[in-house]
Symmetry: C2
Subunit: 433 residues, 2 copies
């Protein structure tokens, strides 16, 4: 068991006034022992190593609550297109040619980028998710994984559910508990009611959570209303999908009644501002959701509709988009940071994550505050949300283990991963030209 | 006269299909001699130095068409507030205490950040602009400077105009032509018609351009309509302000007739998406302006309403905001890059800037494409707009001189500048507490 004493400026995310300009965090094994001013660690704490970062701000690792990691394979392959031609002519044909191995390398590339930009936990949904699990184990990061399932083709549906159950049996709690497995029905418009009910039964048997796209586009809203005479949220409630740990990604089109339902069942929302803008999906009512006490996390969505996995940029976009449609007072810097840390932890159902506090998991990042865009230092939360970018991250620790130091990745062979993805992605693209 | 041969991937911004995967640029003095594949430089070209950047993309330096550089002094001082309390309780009282020296250090900090993030030219408007000029001369970058002038207090108005004339006489064409001086009437709602007419007469005498805020907020539109029965653009036309080189910053609230007027007089627009979102100003009709053939550049505005000067983030926000209100096909990656390079050059009235082409000014930046967020390399323009961030910039050259190499600033003492701003800004803030 390694013991570290980390000395830095510390934003523990335990309350808006909590900040240590000269602070220290004691870490033993995978847990935080203490946090406070320099000298606050227990007298008998004997670190193996002192990590001195006096010009860095240390905060909880960021939690990306909705992504499709292996879609890095499609980054820059198709942009600036309308949703349906983008999906039908570009994304789906490309995905159909992706092998399990491609999924491994695509996920590994995503994890390189996530670690580099301070994301320590991701909530993922895709195919061949066992490959993503392997990449997560190799990277040493934390993840909530689910097999994306669609249900109108019965063969696909059974195969998907089988895969998700097997994924759970093999990887739930793997990596010393760093991996959780959820069930991943894709969306209300791609899954019939019976299939959703079957998924929910299986998930409940295993005490597993659910991760699903909900009310992402106006077109989805129209389809569900025409098909069932209800909103997507009303219809999902009717199928009995809610209750237990449920992550509803996007939630752009919600009625007041929908919000009541989400609140009633404790459904958590994963907000994806950049993807919602880039695909013209719309603006999710985040300010209203937060006012009702609904838990909201932030996600990047996949790199085909973003195109990066930088949670700092995503936090900024989250705030700016709400301010644009509401008021400059909406989604204040500290609130956005809460969504990306403790909020994200609640979305995932981790009770001991997202804050720097005794007993919490040691998932920490440090941001190099010597950069000119962090001066003058009037407000650390403002700087983190409105000025910071992923490449400002210097150090990343997950479960008490260092994954990046001084911007060098320690668990992943970045160069090989970039080259593998380059070759594999170009090979698939070449089959269409 | 220094001669460089730069070898890299090259995006010359001379047309959507122009790209050299293994390219070279010959630079002699302040100008580009040639650009093409490796081996394309003239046979008799004898470089003093070969700069080898095989994994970098070299493109024209970015042009920030609207900012208030010295406002870095206020970064993070007041955020998440509504416009009027933000201005009246925070920004204006703070600005009133800023000395000429503060303006120098604030501008120097802005220039550190701009160079670091690939901006080689800025269009600035503020007070004590001679201090900003000094900082620009020291930094070695390019700038269009104007003295911000308001006109309802006659003493202030005369002083402002005197300052702007003196600024022109002292600094126009300074730094081997790197500085231009424009006239900076603040906005239609802060300048009476007679004052605008006087400014225009002085500017015309000197053949100087004009830089003004126009139709930034709904409240401005309402004030001008109530005061004069016209839109801000109609009223400015009536004052004779248009014609010649005019930069209209923001232009959020425009009628179809306003756009016709802008087109008729060749008025250029500086678009500031992040500031417009953060202050809830609204969404400027950029897609429509471009469709009419109006020149649009991108600007960050000041760091009090942004809060950084990162033009890569600003390009992304420009595209995402237009896609959100229009369609995913709006503001495609290459169009946004054009706005930030050749478009910006037109906004400033530089005829030989914003492209990598023989005879053009050697204002170049290189972006480190070894980062995982630039793989796979399907589309360089998409990666630059949707994935790149300021800290990815490795090399910056202005007028054929290196200002940054391997992320080290060569002309500015960054550490001293950060510390000076920290002390000066905190000192002003302390007088209010």
């Amino acid at each position: 068991m390694s013991k570290y004493l980390i000395r830095a400026m510390i934003l523990p995310m335990t309350g808006p006034d909590d900040f240590y300009e000269q602070g220290e965090i004691a870490v033993a094994g995978d847990r935080i022992v203490s946090v406070g001013k320099i000298g606050s660690a227990p007298d008998d704490f004997q670190p193996d190593r002192i990590i001195d970062l006096p010009q860095d701000v240390v905060m909880p690792g960021l939690i990306n609550t909705h992504t499709h990691a292996a879609m890095t394979m499609l980054r820059g392959y198709a942009d600036d297109m309308s949703l349906m031609p983008w999906l039908e002519e570009k994304v789906w044909p490309f995905e159909a040619k992706m092998t399990a191995e491609d999924m491994y390398w695509g996920s590994a590339l995503a994890l390189c980028e996530m670690i580099r930009s301070g994301t320590t936990t991701m909530v993922d949904m895709y195919m061949h998710e066992e490959e993503t699990a392997q990449a997560v184990l190799k990277a040493g990061s934390r993840a909530v994984l689910s097999r994306g399932m669609t249900g109108f083709d019965p063969v696909n549906a059974s195969k998907g559910l089988e895969d998700n159950i097997k994924l759970f049996q093999t990887y739930h709690h793997a990596g010393e508990g760093r991996i959780k497995v959820f069930f991943g029905p894709h969306a209300p418009y791609t899954c019939p009611g019976e299939f959703l009910q079957e998924i929910k039964r299986e998930a409940d048997k295993l005490d597993a959570g659910i991760h699903i796209h909900v009310a992402e586009t106006k077109s989805e809203l129209d389809i569900i209303k025409e098909r069932y005479g209800k909103t997507p949220v009303e219809w999902l409630e009717e199928q009995g999908l809610f209750g237990g740990q449920v992550i509803a990604a996007h939630c752009v089109y919600l009625t007041s009644k929908d919000m009541d339902i989400l609140k009633q069942y404790g459904v958590c929302v994963a907000h994806n501002p950049e993807s919602n803008m880039k695909l013209n999906s719309g603006t999710a009512p985040i300010t209203q959701l937060l006012q009702r006490g609904i838990t909201v996390g932030i996600g990047t969505d996949g790199t085909s509709s973003n195109n990066d996995l930088d949670m700092f940029c995503e936090m900024r976009s989250a705030s700016l988009q709400q301010k644009l449609v509401g008021s400059p007072e909406d989604l204040k810097a500290y609130e956005v940071l809460e969504m990306a840390t403790s909020g994200g932890a609640k979305v995932c159902g981790f009770k001991d994550l997202g804050k720097i506090a005794p007993g919490y998991k040691a998932d920490l990042i440090s941001i190099d505050f010597t950069q000119p865009h962090f001066y003058p230092r009037f407000s650390i939360p403002s700087h983190l949300v409105y000025s910071a970018k992923g490449p400002d991250v210097r150090t990343v620790m997950v479960d008490g283990k260092l994954l990046m130091e001084d911007r060098k990745l320690l668990t992943l062979d970045e160069k090989t991963i970039c080259q593998e993805v380059e070759q594999r992605a170009k090979k698939i693209a070449s089959t269409f030209s």
